[in-house]
Each structure stands twice: as C-alpha cells, then as structure tokens.
C-alpha cells in the first residue's frame, strides 16, 4: 500500500497548568513533499502543537505517527529534540538556537552524533553541498554574530537538513525577514519540496499562505477547525475560519461623553532594535472619555506605539506626539521628554508582557513596595511608606486582590492578581491617558470583567484609555473605536459598534490596496 503521509497527529491534547488548554483533540496529517500552512490567531496553539513534534513539549494525550521509511506509519513518542531529529523532524524556532561566537560550521557540528567524524573541513564541505542543492547561501566560516537575521535563519535550516530532517517546521519564518529575503526563503522552500521534503510553515499572514502552501490547516483557540486546499482558499474564507463566529460579551459600554482631544499623534515612526521599521508613519488622535482599542497581529508595532508615547522608545525625526494638558488645554510635545516627565504629566502605561512580571512589578517585593515604585522619589532621604501602604490596601480592597498580606511577594500571587496590582496601581495614579497592553492576558472570565469595568470607569471619568488587546471579541465589545495596525502601518480606524470581526481580521492580516501601493 502506498502511503503519502509523513506525519500524523491524532487527538493531541496539551494543557498548561489546570486552566490553559493549548491544544484540544487536534488531528492533523502532513503529506510527503507538500508545504502545509498552519494558520491561526495569536494564542491559537500553533506553536505549541508543533513543539510537540519537535520534542520541546510532550502531549498530555493523543498519538503521533511518523513514516518509518518503509511507507508505513509507526507510532512514536518524542521526548526531546534529539528524538525528533532521529525521526527526521527539524524545527526552526522563532528564537534561533545558535551560539553567537561560533562559525556556521561549528554551530552545525554542535552536539553531532559521535558516529560523524569531527572534521570541520568535511562538515563545511557538506554544508556547501546542501547549500548548492537547495539554493541557500551560507558562508561556513562566518561567525553567527556577524550574520543578518536572514542568514541565521538559513543556517538553522541548513543545520536541520544536515541532521537529516525530512520534515521541516518553520515557526513564523517571515516575521523577521524583509520582502526580498522572504522571496528567497520561499524559493528554497519550493526546492526542498521538490526534493520530497515535507514543510510546515506556521504563520498568520494570509498572503503568504496563499503564495507558498499546498494546503492550509486552521487552528482557533487550540482547536482544529479544518484543512483546505490552498487552490480553493481565498483571503475572506481563511479570515472567517481563523476568527470564527462573533461571541457576544456583556460588557457594560456607555456612549462616550464630552470627548476631548487628549493625545495627538502625527507621522510617528520607530525603528526597533533589529533595525527594522516597527512603526511606519502612524497618525491618530486619542480622546478623553473613550476607549481606543488597538488591534493587530502580535509584533505589528503595538509595543513600540505604547513605548513611544511613554517615552521608552526612540522615534524617527519628524514624528510628533502631542499631549493636551487637561487643565489648560495646552498642547505639549512628548517626544524629547523623559519617561519620568511623561509619567508625571499624567500618561500611564501598564504593559502586561508574556511573563507578567517582566515589566512594571518586582516579583520579590510585596504589593506595598511595588506601589512605592511610583512614589519612591517622594519624602526626604527616608522613603515615604505610609502612602504606598494605604494605596496597596485600597487596590487590594477595590480590586479584590487575593493575597495573604500586602507584604507578600507579588510573585507568589496568581497571574490574575498580579495583573490587578499592575493595572490598579496605574489607575490609582489618576492618569489622564491610561495605556494598557494585554491587560487580561491569561485571566479567567470573571477577573477579566473586573478589569473591563475598571477601564470603563476610567473612561467615564474622562480618561483617554488606549487598550491593546488580542481577543477581537473583547475589542469589539469594550472599545469605542479600534485602530488596526498591520506591519507597523496604520491600516484603518473603525467604529467598534458597527464593524465586524471579519473586517478587523482582514485589516490585521492584509494591507489595504492603497497602502500596499504607497509602501
């Protein structure tokens, strides 16, 4: 019997902790010599699923079958990256696993099986052969720290091929590439496919899915939705499958009243640390008394936008961020001011990063000491402790923070409570612009509602709230207007009351025609 399936996943389930279900009952197959796109929103479980093939995670339940070279599927258990390589599976992660001070050859030679002779010249020659075969460009003697991101990625792929990978998994490979580099990558992907290799590309860029893949599998919120032939797919079909039906949320949203200009952003551009343009000519106005949502695929410039306003990110010349001072209605340019000055003027930022403690809170300090991080400059020589203590108690009571005491290190609190402390502290500073990013990340439904209500209260008080979120349903139910970023460009500002999920989904994944022509 001829078998054209390279890998089969059957009823794979993976949970983190007790609550977070990353993958639920996913059944998926990858054929030989095809390029399969794995499509889904942020947090839909694409990377987790593939990490289980690569030996990073181990599934809670389910089976994995891999072709054993004799055209038969065999059940396997993959416990480590080494096991994965032994089965011919290689994954190229978003964060490269390379040693910076080593040459390309040395990186390939790292941890190689003892049966392969340790001969750098031979390995370099083999690298050259692989490059010639598929059209890669790698200089075996170049040190990794001298390489561009694209070169590092190429090296990772070569490393996987050198180890005999037949099934290659690429995790958002184009996120860090320029368009030209993306074209080069797609070229070698086609060459590898022609050579009979199976390639899985994890992505949320629809145009890439349509350009490169043979089939598309869609995941949504950890669940497998469907697989369709790319030839039968279109941007609108894929968007619909990706975002799903609208879920109605009951967030008490009042119509904005007495809106006043609070923040006027003009031609804001930023370059991130990799030298890539992260924000490209963004202009918008945020009003006091409304919640402005910011939607976008992760890494579309949300972080840079907030940080530029907060004074933590350098901006390109010509950018302008004007803040309208509430009392005098005077306009004040924020660019050029320090983060401290901006904070003192009433612009607050609470950013909840993936690890929750990374920004804004010190894990080993209690609530009260964390409150002090905002007021430590007060008091003469000795720190002023009474205020922060009262504030901590207030936040604890108002937001129902569950903690044994306000001196318990916040790292010991559950995620939701940590977030309440973070958001609560910023709100208590009575800002006139409140920016929050991923405020409900990883929170259960009830806690999320507490945070939504807090934000709505602020809005009613006349604060300009900027809410960066991941969940489109929440953005639609909470915000008044939604600003959509795509690839660092402002791709549209829509009215949250009248827009649809599909419209936002399209704006997030697809630059509008005129934008593409201009860009």
């Amino acid at each position: 019997m001829h078998n054209n399936i390279a890998v089969q996943l059957e009823n794979i389930t993976k949970t983190f902790g007790k609550k977070v279900i990353a993958n639920k009952d996913v059944t998926l197959d990858i054929r030989k010599g095809e390029i399969l796109s794995l499509l889904g929103e942020n947090g839909s479980g694409k990377t987790t699923l593939m990490n289980m093939l690569a030996g990073i995670y181990y599934p809670d339940s389910g089976h994995i079958y891999v072709d054993n070279g004799k055209d038969e599927l065999e059940e396997v258990s993959i416990c480590s990256p080494k096991d994965a390589y032994a089965l011919g599976i290689g994954m190229i992660h978003q964060h490269f696993k390379l040693v910076d001070v080593f040459t390309a050859t040395e990186n390939v030679a790292l941890g190689l099986d003892k049966s392969i002779a340790f001969n750098k010249k031979q390995i370099a020659a083999d690298i050259k052969a692989i490059c010639d075969k598929y059209g890669f460009k790698v200089d075996p003697d170049k040190k990794v720290y001298n390489m561009s991101v694209s070169e590092k990625q190429t090296l990772e792929i070569v490393k996987a091929l050198y180890r005999g990978a037949n099934i290659l998994i690429l995790d958002e490979p184009t996120a860090v590439l320029t368009p030209q580099e993306t074209d080069m990558l797609f070229e070698v992907m086609r060459n590898m496919k022609a050579d009979g290799k199976s390639i899985i590309i994890i992505t949320h860029k629809l145009n890439e899915v349509l350009e490169i893949s043979d089939r598309v599998s869609i995941l949504r919120k950890g669940e497998y939705i469907d697989t369709i032939q790319t030839s039968e797919a279109s941007v609108s079909i894929l968007t619909e499958m990706m975002v799903g039906q609208k879920v109605t949320l009951h967030i008490d949203r009042k119509d904005p009243e007495n809106t006043k200009e609070r923040l006027v952003v003009n031609n804001l551009s930023c370059v991130n640390k990799y030298g890539v343009t992260a924000l490209d000519n963004v202009s918008f106005t945020a009003y006091g008394g409304e919640i402005l949502g910011v939607a976008g695929i992760s890494g579309s410039g949300q972080k840079e936008l907030l940080e530029a306003i907060a004074g933590l990110q350098d901006t390109v010349d010509g950018s302008s961020i004007e803040y309208v001072i509430p009392d005098t209605e005077e306009r004040s340019q924020l660019i050029g001011k320090t983060a401290l000055q901006i904070k003192d003027m009433g612009v607050a930022l609470s950013f909840v990063p993936e690890d929750r403690l990374g920004m804004g809170l010190v894990g080993s300090m209690g609530m009260s000491d964390n409150m002090m991080l905002r007021s430590y400059r007060k008091g003469f020589f000795f720190t002023e402790r009474k205020g922060p203590k009262e504030l901590a108690n207030k936040v604890k009571d108002n937001l129902e923070v569950v903690t044994p005491s306000i001196t318990t290190p916040v790292r010991k609190l559950s995620g939701g409570n940590v977030q309440k402390v973070l958001v609560g502290r910023e709100i208590e500073a009575a800002p006139s612009v409140l920016m929050t990013a991923y405020a409900v990340r990883g929170l259960d439904v009830n806690t999320s509602y507490t945070i939504y209500n807090l934000l709505n209260d602020q809005k009613e008080k006349g604060v300009a709230v900027i809410y960066v979120g991941e969940d489109l349903d929440v953005l639609l139910a909470l915000c008044d207007r939604i600003l959509v970023l795509c690839d660092g460009k402002l791709n549209g500002i829509v009215d949250a009351r009248t827009t649809t999920k599909e419209e936002i989904g399209l704006l997030m994944t697809h630059l509008r025609e005129e934008e593409q022509e201009n860009g």
Binding site: S80, P81, K82, Y85, K97, L98, V99, D100, V101, F102, E106, A109, L110, G111, L112, K114, F118, K143, Y145
Partner: protein, 330 residues
Amino acid sequence: MLNMNTLMQLLQSSIAFGTIIMFGAIGEIITEKAGNLNLGIPGVMYLGAISSLVGVFFYEKNVENPIPVVCVIIAVLCAFLAAALGGLLFAFLTITLRANQNVTGLTLTIFGSGVANFFGGLLNGFSGGVGQIRVETTSKAFMTKIPFLSNMGTVGKLIFSYGWLVYVAIIIAILVQWYLNKTRSGLNLRAVGENPATADAAGINVTVYRYLATCIGTGIAGLGGLYYVMDYTKGTWANDGTIENLGWLAVALVIFAIWRPKNAIWGAYLFGLLFWAYLYIPGLSRKTLELFNMLPYVVTIIVLVFTSFRKKRENQPPNALGLAYFREDR
C-alpha cells in the same frame, strides 16, 4: 642598577611564581569556558597544597626508604583530588542547587585557606623540635632538573633550571588550548558556557559538562598549590598568604589572557615578573613598595578597558558566565 646576576634571579623567580599562577589560570579558564565563575581558585590551591603535603608526610614518615616516584604519585594525586573535591562542592552548590556563584566561590576560598592553615599548623606541630615539617624525598623529586641542559650557560639556566612541574604547566596549557579549539568535546564545552539552552537543544548534557569542567579545572589549579609547597618552599609549610595572593592573580590572569590558554602562558610569566618587580626597583620605601605590588592588577584593569573598547566578540567573557542553567526557564 641591575646586573646580570640579579636580572637572572628576577627572571627565575618570575617563572617560579608564573607557574603557580598559570596552573590556577588554566584551571579557571576550563571552568569559565563552561560558564562557571569559580572565585574559589585560591581556596582550591590551598587545598591542593596542604593535601599533597599531608599525603607525602605520612608516607615518608611510615616508610623506611621512601621511593621518589611513589612520593610524586601520592603528592600529585592528593593535590589534584583534594582540589577537585573542592570543585565538586562548588559544582554541587552552584549547578545542582543553583546557588550564587560569586558567593559560593568566595566562601570556597575562605574555606580552603582555613582548612590548609589548620592542618598546616597541625603538621608543623607533629614535627616537634623546630616546628617546621619537611618532606625531603618528595620535594627533591619535584625539584629534579633536566640534567646537562640546565648547565648550558645562561640560556640553559634561564630555560631549563626548574623543577619539572614548570614544564608540565606549559604542556597542560597547550593541551587545553588544543582541546578547547580543536576537539568536538571542547566545542561542546564552549557552547555550554556561551549558550546553555542551545547546547541543551543540541543534545549536549549541560550539567555533566559543567560538573566535569569545574572539577577538572579546580584539580589543575590544585597543582599550582602543589608546585608552591613542593618546589618553591621545598616541601615545607609556611602560612604567609602567598598562595592566596597568587590565586587571585590567577583569576585576574584569566581576564588578562581573554580566556585563551596560550595567552595565559606568557601572561603568567609577565604577572610573575610584575609580582617581583618591587624587589629590583631601587629606592623604594616600605610605602611605595606597596604601590608596585599592585602592578599585576593594574595591568589587568588596563587590559579589561582595552578589550571592552574594542568590543570584539571573541574577546568577551563566555556569554553565560556566572549564570545557572535551568531548562524550564524560558
């Protein structure tokens, strides 16, 4: 002014102390290349010194005619193993229990010097009489010079007039240089020190490499203590803190040599020279003398400044130096 004789004296003592520093530095380079910063080098040198002395003391005392070869084997084994045991303690605390490496290393130094001086005093007590022990056969065996060559005039005297451990140090340095840069295992070891997560993903056992590098590294450093007691002080114990001074110089030399064993060879002799320079500079008072004692450290600081200026990645410390590795940290 310096005449030929005093110059020769200076160079010879520089090479003697340089050898002790070299052992310590080579051991520390192996350890640091695997990502462990062991500030316990002076301590393990003490451990090596006292253990070898104790070992051969009992052998010489209980045997009628001690055989030199056996003496040497006992001394080397005792020095290496005792120092490696100190390294094992450090490794267990920092790798398995993930204790802070700086604190653990400093503690190891204090521990080593305490243990050594305690047993050193005890040994001197045993010997009765003058209160000074002497392991004559062993130290003679260690001080054996290469015949003929050491008599070949000034050059022969300068290059060949030392006990054989001096040459062992150079050989070990060359071997370590070769190991780190030319072998598969050396590549893996450097990867562990640069980026343990990458090494782990490549199937390299980070824990095993770090344990072995720390234990073997401290073992080699222990040989520095061995050379000091057997050759330099001729098989006696004196508690004057010299080992500790040299141990710190060894740690400084690792930086000076920018983590390259081949640089540590000439660097060690240079440090030895700078260490002794004050004796040969005329017109120093007791106060100004101390200024010259700083020379090796000043040179290290200058090198540090220069290497940070040039920002060449190869000259930087291993990337994960001083950091414990825990796979589930993401």
